[in-house]
Amino acid sequence: VTLVATVERIDGGAAVVSPVGELDAYTAPELREQLHGLAEEEGLDPLVVDLSRVTFLDSTAIGVLVGALRRMRERGGELRLVEPRGTARRIFELTLLDRTFAFYPTLEEALTS
């Protein structure tokens, strides 16, 4: 196992994936498998990825999140992101994808909005 990412299911159909550390072309494929699996589960919505403990994301990681967003939207669901802290958010601005994703300051807000 290279990436630590816990999965928690919340009453009401939500699931929270919480990766920790750096997401790059080495670790992102593991996150991709987790997210794709969850996005296929019937009734699961919203899918929340808590990025608050992620310290780095590269374009491969962004690609994984875009893929999960597309899969959730295709079946009428939502992908919600808890904001990464500090400089980890930078790549969303560089790629202009900060306008595409639904960001929430805290996990609590991502689950209750």
Binding site: A25, S59, G63, T87, R90, L94, T95
Partner: protein
């Protein structure tokens, strides 16, 4: 030109497994020139994207990528070189998905550095990416 004692030359397998090493080397050098956290974060992205591009398309089998880092008070120079098939020979030809990932990586690199030059490596083989960031 003789290397400064803080310059870094890192040669590693062109595999995603080693991307973290490129970031660690950069972080080490950053201490010697007191980079702003934002600048360091931007450059970590640049070296990761450049090394990931090499890992993705430079070689059909096993290969190596070399990262060179050189800092002065005014600028940071970053060079990423592989001995693979060459950048222009692969992008947009073999696999459209890979090409678009390469394109995104390059766009990110160009966005965070002041100069970005793509050419062939030693002896005309492979790809050499030369980046310059003014401090």
């Amino acid at each position: 030109v003789s290397a400064r004692s803080d310059d870094v030359v890192l040669q590693m397998p062109a595999k995603p497994d080693y991307l973290v090493l490129a970031r660690l080397a950069l972080a080490g050098l950053a201490h010697t020139v007191e980079l702003e956290p934002e600048t360091l974060a931007d450059l970590k992205l640049a070296v990761t994207e450049a090394c990931a591009n090499a890992a993705r398309h430079a070689y059909e089998g096993e290969g190596r990528v070399t990262l060179r880092l050189a800092a002065s008070e005014e600028q940071l120079r970053i060079e990423i070189e592989d001995e693979g098939a060459g950048f222009h020979g692969t992008v947009g030809v073999l696999d459209p998905d890979l090409a678009s990932e390469d394109g995104m990586g390059l766009a990110i690199i160009r966005a965070v550095v002041d100069e970005c030059e793509i050419g062939s490596g030693e002896g005309g083989r492979g790809t050499r990416l030369r980046l310059l960031k003014r401090l």
